[in-house]
């Protein structure tokens, strides 16, 4: 039995800025340390700005040695350490913890090596996702995972979150496109994992580090796999008079043996918001649209496009538009890509959820979300990666109105519980962070949560790295009162109910 109910040592931190500062000043150049409250302000939240907290200090190391120095100081003095990439995460994973410091990897942003025969690139963790693709574009290559924040998010953060994107049904997530890592462990030791070979002896540490949300190690170098750019791509804009018909069409695409490069769905509220914002020519009267893109060799793209056109017709589409050139293709995508800011224009605030469900449950989950929307009296715009069942319902609210934020959060929790009920998960690509830590108790049993804690301790026995994120304590689950019934057993039987 592992100890999980104990307050983690590091979170009992009693450090103040004044006490912590000299420890780091003695060991690091002044340029690496940010300590004034004004300069710390930009680091008080990540992409989920409803949670805010100031770290004692922000450390901006320029190389691996400085990362090791910082980790050693934190380990020696039990100072909690929150790693941060570009700060674009959407789950509060990079939120500062009380009495802790923040280590930001944004200055380590060099592309170290590109091998165009082996199709790999070695990069530092602060390199932006899109910068990798830009650096290899002339070679006819790109880096496949494309989270919507790709212009800003960093590859180190992508590893920590196992970032996905629009194209991951066909091209995989970050974990499927990274071949090697160099990391600094919580005790300051440096470990090299994977690399140029396609496999290595021993446990797949590379796999468990992906999506570990900065809880297990600090990434200081990433070897990514590059992909040949597809020579052809076609995008279709398909309209439906009913949401259910659109959802069924998604299943029939896959049933026909076609794996689209992207398959996105938007409902009417999202369509209208996006159209008013981006003027992409979206049909304002459609109940739902699908954006379907196929890419690959020209002959394959032609073949799949014609199969899909017939299939959408049969599925009851009211209109099937095929982009005639690259300009029109970009216009189709412009609407989808601007969906979030477009919704931001029609509502003072919105709360973006990230559940995933089996594709066949799309109609059920959409019904359920509509029901919850009525019950909580908050509108929801649905924008999602339909191809892989990853939903992004946007709950519209006004934080200035009494109770609305609380209602939005409560409703979000119910949507995630619904996803789990339908055989899905509480987070497809945004991570658990602080935001969904309670919902972890819904998805996992107490023994599973204990196993996660044991995994954390195997890497970080002092619980220095990003403490109190991602994996809830059993005490927290008991407090949250989630009823995870697992194999017919009572939830958290070892915890007194109250």
């Amino acid at each position: 039995m592992t100890v999980v109910n104990q307050t983690p040592e590091a979170s009992r931190s009693v450090w103040t800025r004044e006490r912590a500062l000299p420890l780091f000043r003695n060991a690091l150049p002044e340029s690496v340390i940010v300590s004034s409250p004004e300069e710390l302000k930009p680091f008080e939240c990540d992409g989920l700005s409803v949670y805010r907290a100031l770290p004692l200090l922000v450390l901006l190391p320029e190389n691996r040695e400085q990362v090791v120095t910082i980790v050693n100081i934190c380990a020696q003095h039990h100072i909690p350490l929150v790693p941060r990439g570009a700060g674009t995460g959407l789950s509060g994973g990079a939120l500062a913890v009380e009495g802790g410091v923040m280590l930001t990897l944004s200055r380590m942003a060099k592309i170290l090596h590109i091998d165009k025969q082996k199709l790999i690139a070695k990069v530092q963790p602060g390199v932006r996702n899109l910068a990798i693709s830009e650096a290899v574009r002339e070679m006819g290559l790109y880096y496949a995972p494309d989270p919507s924040s790709q212009i800003a998010c960093s590859i180190g953060g992508n590893v920590a979150e196992n970032a996905g994107g629009v194209h991951c049904l066909k091209y995989g997530l970050t974990v499927n496109n990274v071949q090697g890592l160099e990391c600094v462990l919580a005790d300051g030791r440096v470990i090299s994992i994977g690399g140029e070979c396609l496999d290595a002896p021993g446990l797949d540490l590379l796999a468990v580090l992906h999506g570990s949300e900065g809880m297990l190690a600090l990434v200081t170098e990433v070897t990514v796999r590059l992909s040949p750019s597809p020579p052809a791509a076609r995008t279709m804009l398909v309209s439906f008079a009913e949401v259910g018909a659109a959802a069924k069409a998604v299943a029939s695409v896959i049933g026909a043996g076609i794996i689209p490069a992207g398959l996105e769905m938007m409902d009417q509220l999202a369509i209208r918001a996006a159209e008013d914002f981006a003027h992409a020519g979206y049909p304002r009267d459609a109940a739902a649209i699908l954006l379907c893109e196929v890419d690959g060799l020209p002959a394959d793209v032609e073949h799949e496009t014609s199969v899909l056109a017939g299939l959408f017709d049969k599925a009851g589409a009211t209109e099937v538009r095929i982009a005639k050139d690259d300009a029109e293709r970009q216009t189709f995508w412009a609407g989808r890509k601007s969906a979030f800011p477009a919704v931001g224009r029609i509502s003072p605030d919105y709360y973006c959820m990230d559940g995933t469900i089996p594709r066949c449950k799309l109609p059920d989950v959409l019904d359920g979300i509509a029901r919850l929307s009525r019950q909580f009296d908050l509108p929801v715009a649905n924008v999602f990666h339909a191809g892989d069942g990853n939903l992004h319902p946007l709950i519209l609210f006004d934080a200035n109105r009494k109770d609305e934020l609380e209602r939005a959060e409560a409703m979000g929790g119910r949507i995630l519980a619904l996803c789990v009920e339908l055989g899905g998960t509480i987070t497809g690509e945004h991570g658990v962070g602080l935001e969904k830590i309670n919902q972890m108790c819904v998805q996992f049993s107490s023994t599973e949560i204990e196993q996660f804690h044991a995994t954390k301790l195997a890497f970080d026995e002092r619980r220095i790295l990003n403490p109190n994120k991602n994996i809830p304590t059993l005490a927290r689950c008991a407090e949250f009162g989630a009823m995870h019934v697992h194999d017919g057993q009572l939830p958290h039987p070892d915890i007194e109910r109250f």
Partner: protein, 353 residues
């Protein structure tokens, strides 16, 4: 019956934990000798077979997901998938004509499509595990994207039962290519690899690049029209026994593999190793070599020179290079986190670190 089988497996592991008695977890046992585990060692303890814990739990072809119990034979799973024109894209080898889904995940062996399609871990969406305390745990799920909690199901790929007993696995499946064709190129490995690089760095229907010592072998798969175009442009000679060749290469069958001294060398893609000519079967576009007839010392030197790794598919399954201290330490800690009494597959080297 199945459910009883699961609870009896849990009871066996729990008893092993309580009594500190080792258990040897196996599926069909088809890969034991390949990994030097043919003879149960002194630490083996009670044999725990997953074979009776078998069957497809759920499969909806339009979800591209199948969930199966670990004792399910790969041959049976592949038949079920083939009915819907789908498959496991990483082409898991079945040695000695057998193999279970649990063994596939535990050994993480992938076939000739590896450089293009990815390995076993790239298709794992979820898995259930009886850990070393006899607790039954579910990780991941049956959906394409899932970042809730640590990715334990992928960690199980290549864990050789050292973290516990895998009870079921959820896998991403993919449509079979519409058609497949084979070509034969009369070139030595070095020239063949050089020529073949263009089919990797540009999008092409190539799904296999191997060399049998005499001929370079090329496999392409996809829609017929693209295959026609590739054939016309590159004017390669058709390979009449291509299907048989690639089948044998995937499952390590045929005369080359009938040896008691096989080695496996993993190196970066496109690595030409002249010392191996005449002694090896090249696969994975030069990233995987099956070798025989060379001294261990020479193979170790080659693994060093090419920054790769090596294991013996015979004897005690020794490997090279040894893991660095820090990596060994993490292995020990993870082993203890999942199997605190150190009872699961104690004979495997991961358990012995």
């Amino acid at each position: 019956m199945p459910e009883r089988s699961l609870s009896s497996l849990m009871e066996s592991v729990e008893a092993a934990y309580r009594l500190k008695k080792n258990v040897s977890i196996v599926g069909s046992g088809s890969k034991l000798s390949h990994f030097g585990l043919a003879q149960p060692g002194p630490d083996g303890g009670q044999l725990l077979s997953t074979l009776e814990h078998a069957g497809v739990i759920s499969y909806d072809p339009t979800e591209l997901v199948v969930r199966v119990k670990s004792g399910t034979l790969l041959s049976e799973l592949e038949l079920v998938l083939a009915e819907h024109h789908q498959r496991l894209a990483f082409e898991p080898p079945q040695l000695k004509g057998s193999g279970t889904v649990g063994g596939m995940l535990a050994t993480a062996m992938a076939g000739p499509s590896r450089p293009w399609a990815g390995g076993v871990r790239d298709y794992v969406l979820g898995a259930s595990l009886i850990n070393g305390k006899g607790e039954h745990l579910n990780f991941g799920g049956q959906v394409m994207k899932n970042v809730a909690g640590f990715d334990v199901s992928r960690l199980l790929a290549g864990s050789f039962g050292s973290l516990g007993l895998i009870t079921d696995v959820s896998l991403k499946v993919l449509p079979k290519p519409e058609s497949v064709r084979y070509f034969k190129v009369p070139q030595p490995p070095s020239e063949f690899l050089q020529q073949a690089q263009q089919w990797y760095v540009q999008m092409s229907p190539v799904s296999g690049l191997a060399h049998d010592g005499e001929y370079g072998r090329v496999r392409i798969g996809g829609y017929t029209k693209s295959l026609d175009e590739f054939s016309v442009v590159h004017k390669l000679a058709a390979d009449a026994d291509g299907e048989e060749f690639w089948h044998r290469l995937q499952h390590l069958k045929g005369p080359f593999f009938e040896t008691d001294e096989l080695w496996r060398l993993s190196v970066p893609l496109w690595t030409d190793v002249p010392e191996l000519h005449g002694h090896s079967m090249l696969d994975w576009a030069g990233a995987q070599y099956w070798v025989k007839g060379l001294a261990e010392r020479e193979l170790i030197r080659l693994a060093d020179q090419h920054r790769g790794s090596l294991y013996a598919c015979h004897g005690d399954g020794r490997f090279y290079p040894p893991l660095p201290d820090v990596t060994q330490d993490l292995h020990r800690r993870l082993k203890s986190a999942y199997d605190p009494a150190q009872v699961c597959n104690a004979d495997h080297w991961i358990s012995k670190i």
